[in-house]
Amino acid sequence: MTKPLLKIAGLEGGYGDIKILNGVNIEVPEKSVVTIVGPNGAGKSTIMKAIYGIARVTAGTITINRDGKEIDVLATKPHNLSKIGIGYVPQIENIFSAMTIDENLDVGFIPESGKPIGELKESMYQRYPDLVGRKKDRAGQLSGGQRQMLALARALMSSPKLLLLDEPSAGLAPALVDQLFDELVRINQSGVTILMVEQNARRALEISNYGYVLDMGKNRHEGAGKSLAVDPEIVGIYFGKRTTK
């Protein structure tokens, strides 16, 4: 087996004195979609926040494999993570609502990607034609679905190898959730590896190559995405309440 793109090993940490992660191990193979599910408070989002230095890490390692070289993610400053190929779409407030749509894309761009900004922006507008006519509008005026598209476009502007998504379907109408997951598949097919945390577990696992079930800040279960999505035990324990809500 080839080396995973992202490797999280024995991760422990939390916020202040509150410990949320108690030894999490996750591997994300190149060009795959990996989903982390689990009940509220399991520490799913905390993993993403640990990568970005928002949550405190007390033990464990996170490394990204770039061209055979292991880069210590935790030792990389948050603003340099896009330079080592990581893009992130937070769950809430994931756009700059007081800025125009075009400016939102400018801010996501990093010259290190080697592609000219105009070309990248053009490809984003082709990908998300809804945004084209609204380039000069403030992002805060967009609808929920359009916001999420802009948030994805912003993250893709840095040409990431690995895209981290924190609850991408949160707050979206059901029809838009389908569109969103279709879009995630397209992004993945274009060669971007995806690691997401998702409350809509079944839907997310269906498009995932691999899934991890987290509980109390620890790995509880793992397996191929599709099989986890229909595993009766998992469905009953973890998603039963949530999916019927």
């Binding site: 970005y52 928002i54 948050p78 603003h79 340099n80 993570l81 896009s82 330079k83 992130y88 937070p90 407030e93 994931n94 756009i95 700059f96 609502s97 007081a98 800025m99 400016e103 400018d106 801010v107 996501g108 990093i110 805060g140 912003r154 840095s158």
Partner: protein, 297 residues
């Protein structure tokens, strides 16, 4: 008519200075959530260092002004690195930040008095040349100040709008947590913010000293309330709002002394009018003139 033109012109000159100083306060607030009560004394510092360099050291005036702006930036950055950064990291609240800023204001003002003396100063500039325009007497120095301030204001507005660092500053002010995970170098944003605030504060101080003729180490403090009013009027945290708030306040304050307005008010009461305008605007629009658009910078 002549009097109206005169007052309008005076108001625009005063407003451009308020606007420049207000811009720094608004930027610092939007990025660092800190109301910089020491901003007034940075105006004083700019005026005094320019006086020292130009009059005592006989440097060309423009060079003295540029060096004073550099000094304003250096002092701002030193305070950021030895003071503000640590205080922010300690999780200090608004009140603590307010007290520290007030303390800096006090130390700065007294240091200026200790270094340069507390006598009033006057730039060695031609104060007498005036032009007649629609019956009004326009002082050459005022005209130069208005022109330079307009260029400086347009320049900074474009910089914030178009440049990469300007966009980063707006992004950070808009959504600091997203900015921090979007490849934006937060330290660079903070340094840029203090740089603009320090440079424009010093420049506004030189302009104010020039327009006023004589100035003492209390000049900036006297202006601080009007500047803060301009900040609030233009919606605190909105840089463009601060610039416009400055102009509105400057013009209204000067026009209020117009004879045609029921004899006008004595000019010593101008600040009262400024605050009356502020109170009225806030009564109807508590978020300031531009609040509804919720623009951060």
């Amino acid at each position: 008519m002549a009097e109206f033109v005169q007052l309008l012109f005076n108001g625009l000159v005063a407003g451009s200075i308020f606007g420049m100083a207000a811009l720094g306060i608004s930027l610092v607030y939007s990025v660092l959530h800190l109301v910089n009560f020491a901003a007034g004394d940075f105006l004083t510092l700019g005026a005094f260092t320019t006086f020292y360099l130009a009059t005592s050291q006989h440097l060309p005036f423009v060079l003295a002004v540029i060096l004073s702006m550099v000094i304003g930036v250096i002092v701002s950055l030193i305070l950021e690195f030895i003071l503000w950064r640590r205080i922010r990291r300690s999780g200090a609240g608004m009140l603590a930040l307010f007290l520290v800023a007030s303390g800096i204001a006090f130390i700065l003002r007294q240091s200026i008095a200790l270094t340069f003396g507390s006598d009033s100063r006057r730039f060695d500039l031609d104060q007498l040349t005036t032009y007649e325009f629609l019956g009004a007497q326009i002082a050459r120095l005022q005209l130069i100040v208005l022109l330079c301030a307009s260029i400086a204001i347009t320049g900074i507005a474009l910089f914030i709008k178009k440049s990469n660092i300007g966009k980063d500053m707006r992004a950070y002010a808009d959504n600091a947590s997203l900015a921090a995970v979007s490849g934006i170098n937060v330290d660079r944003v903070i340094i840029a913010t203090w740089t603009i605030s320090g440079a424009y504060g010093a420049l506004a101080g030189v302009f104010q000293g020039t327009v006023q003729g004589q100035f003492t180490n209390g000049m900036g403090l006297d202006l601080l309330l009007a500047i803060l009013a301009a900040v609030v009027l233009g919606t605190i945290g909105d840089a463009y709002g601060a610039l416009i708030g400055g102009f509105v306040l400057g013009v209204v304050m000067d026009l209020s002394t117009w004879d045609a307005l029921a004899g006008g008010i004595p000019s010593t009461y101008k600040p009262v009018v400024g605050f009356a305008v502020l109170v009225i605007v806030l009564l109807f629009k508590p978020e300031g003139i531009f609040g509804v658009r919720a623009r951060k910078i």
